[in-house]
Symmetry: C2
């Protein structure tokens, strides 16, 4: 079975959950990217249009995470036709919210929907990874949660190496993105190549407390654990404007804790109620504005299901 | 209120739960040390007798973990009398089963019982640590589980930094101690001072899977996770006779996995039934015997409550 066009949404995600660097990812409900695809007779992927990126994303289909993921799904399906792809970019680029992953996931899910959903959700993981790899390396930490939803523990690039951790129902996030650029490559380059054994022990203890807190639904313990990052945050703090001020302000406004979202510059405050998250987002936005940083602020929750098909025709 | 004599038991423990190095400890039901105390008019602690140690433990009260812990409890109580202490040593020394910790815990619990239990269990932690520190450094990883029971996540030396993780009811252990000496100091000295960041990430991912598996009661996932230790085990493997052969044999006999107990030389196989644990203990004992290593073998479970008062008079 085959359709004429299909449209899919894939949400923003946070690739590092504080201390759980490179192993735990979180899917947000909002914002997210939307990809629309329709068949074309010529093989391969044509990028018909990209909106919302201010012209910054590559239009070359071999260099855009959405088109690379779409191409990968076509290959999996043995499809001789190609697709024309439109990307509605709603996520800020290089913000630490999984922008390239969301585009790749939305494209893979859209092409699968266009073809009548022959592949299960999990089977799209490899294609999404191909898209992500085209722009920022072979990381599952954003692609995993954006595709599968929830809080994902990722210990490899295979589907059975992704586990869902419990999602506390009252966990809300305030997400604020100051208008500075932190390219993922630079955020990786500032990390130490080695860590002292003692620090590894402390960090893995905090990871254990974090997983335990998720199972108990203990948001205070969760926030304390994810903030206990003695390795990644200190190395990246100078790339994130006003990080420590933002943490202090967020807590004064009622947040339980604050971490860098992904590789930054977005910061993510953990809250236990929607009203608190809204207030914290406003407070942080005002902090950045007062310091001369343009910014985007929002509050959201975890998306339990991740990407979704919006329309098939 | 005060008694004439008191006797307490403190169990063996495993200070490192495989990949959860230095952060997760486990209390076994058996074996354990027994300490008996009675008042003496002179202040301080007199060691009346030690049995079962083949004369290897120090009789100087300032150098024995049991008497140091006893002294520390007397000090907390502001007690002017002293105690005469008898230690029935049932744990092998330097075996990786928390021998010095068990003596310290049994002594602290016995002195508290002698005095009519004025202190709560948790309040004895510091005294037990004093005892442990007198012989092997300020580590909570054996003292914590031996005193408090269960599976303990330890992220500091304060009581509120110790969390109990869920104990899967069908988890059984086969414990085999080959007759070679692995002093804790040597086992520490062979560890790397730094670990590659990539290895830290993999290791903390395995720690996360382990805690998640404990919450799900998934013994197979637990065994796979605790075995996924790319840092500590490779550094210590040469100190543990036949480690990899023991792992292979244990699995052939039905075990789910095998790790070094504490700093070794004991090995600990994880099993999902008592009969399997018994068979695995026999198999491993035969393996070591055939290779010319005297050994002790047993099978046990987790002790939910840890140390206990045996008798008060």
């Amino acid at each position: 079975m085959s359709n004429v066009s299909a449209e899919a949404f894939a949400p923003a995600s946070m690739g590092n959950f504080g201390v759980a660097f490179d192993i735990v990812g979180v899917a947000f409900r909002e914002p997210g990217d939307v990809v629309r695809v329709e068949w074309q007779d010529a093989p391969g992927v044509t990028i018909a249009a990209i909106t919302g990126d201010e012209g910054r994303l590559p239009r070359d289909p071999s260099k855009n995470s959405a088109s690379v993921a779409a191409q990968s799904v076509l290959r999996m399906l043995g499809e001789r036709r190609g697709v024309r792809l439109t990307l509605e970019k709603r996520l800020p680029l290089e913000s630490g919210m999984g922008s390239s992953a969301a585009s790749a996931v939305a494209a893979a899910v859209a092409v699968n929907a266009l073809a009548g959903e022959p592949l299960r959700r999990a089977e799209l993981l490899g294609a999404c990874l191909d898209g992500e790899a085209a722009v920022s390396g072979y990381h599952v930490d954003n692609v995993g949660p954006s595709l599968l939803g929830g809080i994902t523990l990722i210990t490899g690039t295979e589907f059975d190496e992704i586990t869902h951790l419990p999602v506390p129902p009252h966990l809300h996030f305030a997400l604020v993105t100051p208008a500075v650029s932190v390219p993922t490559a630079e955020a990786r380059a500032v990390l130490p190549s080695h860590v002292p054994l003692r620090q590894h022990v402390a960090q893995s203890g905090a990871v254990a407390r974090m997983v335990d807190a998720l199972h108990h639904g203990d948001l205070e313990a969760l926030a304390e654990a994810v903030e206990s990052d003695g390795i990644i945050e200190p190395a990246r703090a100078h790339l994130i404007p006003l990080l420590y001020e933002a943490r202090a302000e967020a807590k004064r406004a009622g947040a339980l804790g604050l971490i860098i979202s992904g590789a930054g510059p977005s910061v993510c405050a953990l809250c236990d109620a929607e009203a608190t998250a809204a207030r914290v987002a406003e407070t942080l936005s005002a902090l950045y504005t007062a310091a001369g940083y343009g910014n985007r602020a929002l509050h959201t929750q975890i998306s339990p299901q991740g990407a979704k098909v919006l329309r098939v025709r």
